[in-house]
Symmetry: C2
Subunit: 142 residues, 2 copies
């Protein structure tokens, strides 16, 4: 069961189309949502869709304010279990809504997801500062 | 953005081939891994692969002992964002290794995954008691 090195894990994560974001409430209850994202150096940027008034109340954002530790996972399932792999990101998140942060995130997400260009997200941005890229692949072949 | 009812969410989750399990350490740090699983009523059973000595040290198991609150997510990504959906399970986990629990889990997982029959997992079982099935689908069409 070969572990992926940090660079391989980062490259695989950056190329994935979807990841799952785990946040934790102040009293230790985890919460999961699928997210689209863009990697910028040692940061992962995640847009929040929907109207700002609604999104402010989202559990993931409330959790990040209570506890900034987050985890992201990208993985691919295949019935051939020798093709399985996953990549995990451990880090700390911050909710950002300054113009500069929103502009950067929308540009990077728009470049990855044409869906974002036609219907840009209106909410704030989750910025994850990565502590560790790790991963696993069932086979060592690329 | 239609929310799924509890029954629909449960049915979609039970049919998914992979889910992601979020556990949380005693000091509030989340951890994510992809898992194969089987639904049995209001429980989700997850096998742990590998040798018992190694698996005892797995972060997910240590976390469950420190904090039983867990979250599971099944989702499907599609470049057509109107086809997106996800289902979330909130619950509490317990690590079980009595013969009865292992026998049940292996039977249910073996029925879903032929891969398990040819190479049955040797470790203990994570049993999640479900508090809530919830979910979301981009379109209301089945």
């Amino acid at each position: 069961m070969p572990r992926l090195g940090s660079d391989d894990a980062r490259a695989r994560f950056a190329a994935a189309r979807v990841a799952r974001l785990a946040t934790v409430s102040g009293d230790g209850v985890p919460h999961l949502v699928p997210v689209v994202f863009a990697v910028a150096g040692e940061r992962v940027l995640i847009a929040i869709d929907g109207k700002p008034k609604t999104t402010r109340a989202l559990r993931r954002l409330a959790n990040i304010v209570e506890n900034p530790a987050v985890c992201l996972l990208a993985d691919e399932y295949d019935e051939d279990w020798s093709a399985l792999w996953w990549v995990r990101v451990d880090g700390y998140a911050e909710v950002r809504d300054e113009d500069e942060a929103l502009t950067e995130a929308r540009a990077l997400l728009g470049a990855r997801y044409p869906q974002h260009v036609s219907d840009p997200p209106e909410g704030p941005v989750i910025e994850v500062t990565v502590d560790r890229w790790s991963g696993w692949t069932a086979s060592s072949q690329e």
